[in-house]
Amino acid sequence: MTPELILFFVLAGVALAGAINLIVQTHPIHSALSLIVVMVALAGIYLLLGAELLAAVQIIVYAGAIMVLFVFTIMLLNAGEEERTSWSRAATWVGIPLAVLLTVVLGWRMAQSGPVPVLAAETGSVSRRLSELLFTSYVFPFELTSILILVAILGAVVLAKRDF
């Protein structure tokens, strides 16, 4: 086993353990923390793949910004332990078979497809290549996403200002 492979299994194990812990934990803060562990472990896997920019962005945006807001909200709402109702039991009975089905379908598709050709960054660094793509071929989706985010920010401001 190469060191990379060992590292991959360690990171994948951490990510899986975090994901399972996320579901099993009854307290929202613990679940949120497990989600952060999953994201950091995924960032490690991206690093192993040589996608350094993606790893950094994964931590800055997901683990840093978005999850801080999650934790913030949970802390502010002072959410307590999760309660078990008849609905949650029903969700268990429907959810587990669906999850197994999803895993099987995804695994089957992945086993069928061959190795994906890796886009080697021959010209310049990865970040340069990414920004070139973003501002030439994909400039329309990029601008569209920006406008979408702007609208969401305006909506949030309007909602927050309503009681004035």
């Binding site: 920019l53 950094a56 913030f72 802390m75 502010l76």
Partner: protein
Amino acid sequence: MSAFLASYADLLISVVKVLAVMLVLLTTVAYLSWFERKVVAHMQSRWGPERVGPYGLVQPLADGAKFLFKEDPTPEGVDRFVYFFAPFLALALAMSTIAVIPLGPGQLEIFGHRTWFSVAEVDLSLLVVFALTALSVYGVALAGWASNSKYPLLGGLRSSAQMLSYELSMTMSVVGIVLMTNTFSLRQIVEAQRGGHGGLQHWFFLSQFLGFVCFSISAVAETNRAPFDLVEAEQELVGGFHTEYASFKFAMFFMAEYAAMVTVSLMVSVLFFGGYLSPFPDTPAFHWTWYLPAASALAGGAALFFNGIRYHTPQGRMVLPVIALVLIGVGVLCALPAVIGVIQGPFWLAAKVFVLLFTYVWLRGTLPRLRYDQLMNFGWKFLLPLSLANVLLTSLLLARSFSS
């Protein structure tokens, strides 16, 4: 044995580098608390620590021992795992940033092995620093929440809001530099400040003055230091997020704060003050500046020696001259031809960091604390637009220089 050493040389060198940097960082953190108390005390016409050892120099050790042996009660109703985990997270994140910061120029040669003059050489080191900063919010926020107490919770919420707000302007204020240098690597950012023959006119605090102002202000806010230390406003929140922490867990938050001060000062000097570059031009007329590290150690040693032999306690009269002699020895060592080239980078970096740390303490001794709404207004309505304006201005100027 030698074959083993040869095959694992890179690993060994890495371990040695990590240990050396950790040792220096931890000593700096310990003596930074002494330095801060001493400087603030003299600004307020007091003496500061002077009982434990000459000039109070053993005070950090005494504090450390006190923290280790104090009773460590765990309040009832805390969330045990998060309560114990938060101080570790805070300290680990605060101390790991230094790994990607370039400490000297180029590569070092140790027993025939070449290695970069930094703990880890990463292409995207600037992004790594921001990723670690983004995660450091959790230490404070989780500590406040897990304590299961009102004031720490308020302190933790305040700090997360503050760190999130100022992180934005801190990140935006660096975009100008990234645009000018076309890189995320801190080492290349430093090298871009070398210019033709070196000298401080190429440093980014001149060409990126707005960015420098934004970055240094938001960096102070990001480390929760005065005048932005609302997190621990005693009048309002008792002790802020660490109210329920005692003994060594409290000490860990304390160390994390000082380590963050050191790394932020390192970042400011790397981004805006040329990092390990000398402020003097790289011409033969300025070759004498190579002896400045040796000269400053010798001068410091001599001053300490003459003050030491006249110190008012017999113990001090014994210890201080010995420390002075060690300093003089270091000075002589720095003048040796084998060392003089290697010591230049770390010396200038350390000198810049020292000045910035002094400024940090100076701010604390001078400015009153901001009110919470003032803090938020300042961050969102002044600093963020200013840093955005800096991005706009820099890109316009760059576009003009490209087209002409």
